[in-house]
Symmetry: C2
Subunit: 368 residues, 2 copies
């Protein structure tokens, strides 16, 4: 792995130097992880002129169970506890004679940025913006295989839930049950707070589980994901509880399914983000559901569950091969409930068989 | 409750106006919750000259299951999805003729702060610092009763775990089991990521559970907390697995227990934060464990699990009555493990019986 991390840091160093900065400070934890490997919470990465340094808080802090940072890095621990590694890193950069340092202004707070300036007044701070986030968009096959395993784990956890009795159980308990199963199957943990939505809650994006119990005739929508070696996937399905779905449920399900399929089929290298969004949105629009749709149809996944790109109406940019994204349109009817269907796929060229579906749980409307 | 929220906002408005700002923007979610009640994720609070406004993201966003915001507030939803409520609030403040607005520079990123400036260039932005965090330090009896219930829930979850078979189970599974029990007993969820540390991991603050299994002769240290109506408590205990603890385990346990008791007994209105820390630290120092101790002996709890005050060597300030804090000294011996004992208590005057212990699980060294 060490060469992989070194290559990633070399690309960032080029970006920083092209922007006129001799050093760069990475503070966003997912970005530190991408460039340096697993590191204790709060660790920051300083890219210097010559060598790179991880600055950690006091050694008693938690270490990530999933591994160790890149051995090629110099590791420095804060002398005093309770300090800010970013401030120590700025101090270090100035001490090594750097005149400028690129920082992540979208991650640093105003107060923290001021602390950097005051500890190293001679150091000119520039903004590296989302440079690391941009590097992270296209995944290598190693990263994709982690996502593939994460998706398998989520499929397994969801599949087991479907075999259990659901009526009478609360959203909260079903969510916890799913998270336990994710870990049973080897996840480091859930990729995000598992969402279980019943009846009138169903179909709502990011619904936080309540004490409402599953009832006969409910729509049940579930959204979960596993984290495996830091990589996060997402799957969402909607089911109906009881013997036979109502007509409105079947119609709504078929509509959302059609919208989701349209967006999946539009995934290809070179496709504009907004066109993937439009593919799903116009199916829902044409059926009169233009109001109150979610802001986006999907988003990138990787070391964070919601990363670049955004598949949204105003998004600029085009998909590349090896970009994993979610496709998750939904419709929610206030007071009645709704449907969401959510897959994680990897964009692949037609020659390689088109988009690779990572979350393979059936998308038929199951009556449980 | 509405009067309570109104009174809190009035105090903040006074602080802002004393600082020369006619309006204030609150973005830190715990602060928004304190001043406005439960609100959807991403919601910000604008304190205007006359009336106060909650600015929310698109209505499809998650709503908190635990309640609704203060009805006295005007609620404004972003026109377009995906926007930043803070930017909309700055726009609104300027439109209402405000010339200055106090913001939380310790919470706003540099990028977000710049976006506020560019949407409302005539609006002078000042820093309100940790004003709301300071208001939150002393709790009212309503808040304390929520913490009391949260602590009861955590005690129950921990008590049930102690009755189950532990040997052979992994840290990860025990942590998930505890979190399920928290919800069983009425918690909204865990107050923080439950920490279960076995053998060589035991006694480490903030240890993230791994796949290590509990073994005979291990120290097992557990730290968990419940969230009830938004309020978060914390309890930590260390046990020994098997029939009889080794001598070194008994000695280390007695030492940490003595340190924790010394700090608990030093809790009183007017006591300096650093003196509470020193009470525990000098017990450990005198036994030769000055190296590698955690940065703090305890911290405030409330709407956040780690809030003001910090009970640490360099902390400035004195305790007041009705301030809930943790007391959580620990010793970790690399490669061998260690002990942590953690309680949540409320500072009370001697006349009222002294500190109120919220987490009542026994602190005897139990052999499980």
């Amino acid at each position: 792995m060490s060469e992989v991390y070194a290559a990633r840091r070399a690309r960032l160093r080029d970006r920083a130097q092209a922007g006129g900065s001799q050093s760069a400070l990475v503070t966003n934890p997912a970005n530190v992880r991408y460039l340096a490997g697993p590191a204790p919470q709060g660790t920051v990465l300083l890219l210097g002129k010559r060598d790179d340094t991880l600055v950690c808080t006091d050694p008693l802090d938690e270490r990530p169970p999933e591994g160790r940072p890149d051995e090629a890095l110099r590791i420095q621990t804060l002398p005093g506890p309770g300090g800010d590694p970013a401030v120590a890193a700025a101090d270090l950069a100035a001490a090594h004679g750097a005149e400028s340092m690129a920082v992540e202004e979208h991650h640093l707070t105003v107060t923290r940025h001021r602390a950097l300036r005051s500890v190293a007044p001679t150091l000119r701070l520039t903004d590296i913006g989302g440079a690391v986030e941009q590097l992270r968009v296209v995944k290598d096959e190693e990263e994709i295989s982690c996502l593939r395993i994460a998706a398998e784990i989520a499929d397994q956890a969801l599949g087991e839930l479907l075999e259990s009795i659901l009526v009478g159980r609360t959203e909260r308990h079903l969510a916890l049950e799913l998270e336990r199963r994710l870990v049973d199957h080897g996840a480091e943990g859930p990729a995000f707070a598992t969402s279980v939505a019943t009846g009138p809650h169903s179909g709502r994006r990011g619904h936080r589980p309540t004490d409402r119990r599953v009832e006969e005739g409910d729509f049940l929508s579930v959204c979960l994901g596993a984290t495996y070696r830091g990589y996060r996937c997402e799957i969402g399905r909607t089911f109906v509880i009881g013997t036979s779905p109502a007509d409105w449920q079947i119609e709504l399900y078929d509509l959302v399914f059609a919208a989701q399929r349209a967006a999946r089929e539009s995934l290809s290298p070179g496709a504009a983000y907004r066109d993937v969004d439009r593919a799903a949105r116009q199916v829902l629009d044409s059926a009169g559901y233009s109001e109150g749709l979610a802001a986006l149809t999907g988003h990138g996944v990787g070391l964070e569950i919601d990363e670049e790109p955004q598949l949204a109406p105003a998004a600029m940019g085009k998909l590349d091969a090896c970009v994993p994204v979610t496709v998750e349109p939904g419709v929610h009817l206030p007071g009645r409930g709704g449907v969401r269907i959510d897959d994680t796929l990897v964009v692949r060229p037609e020659a390689d068989g088109g988009p690779e579906l990572l979350t393979i749980t059936t998308k038929e409307l199951l009556a449980l």
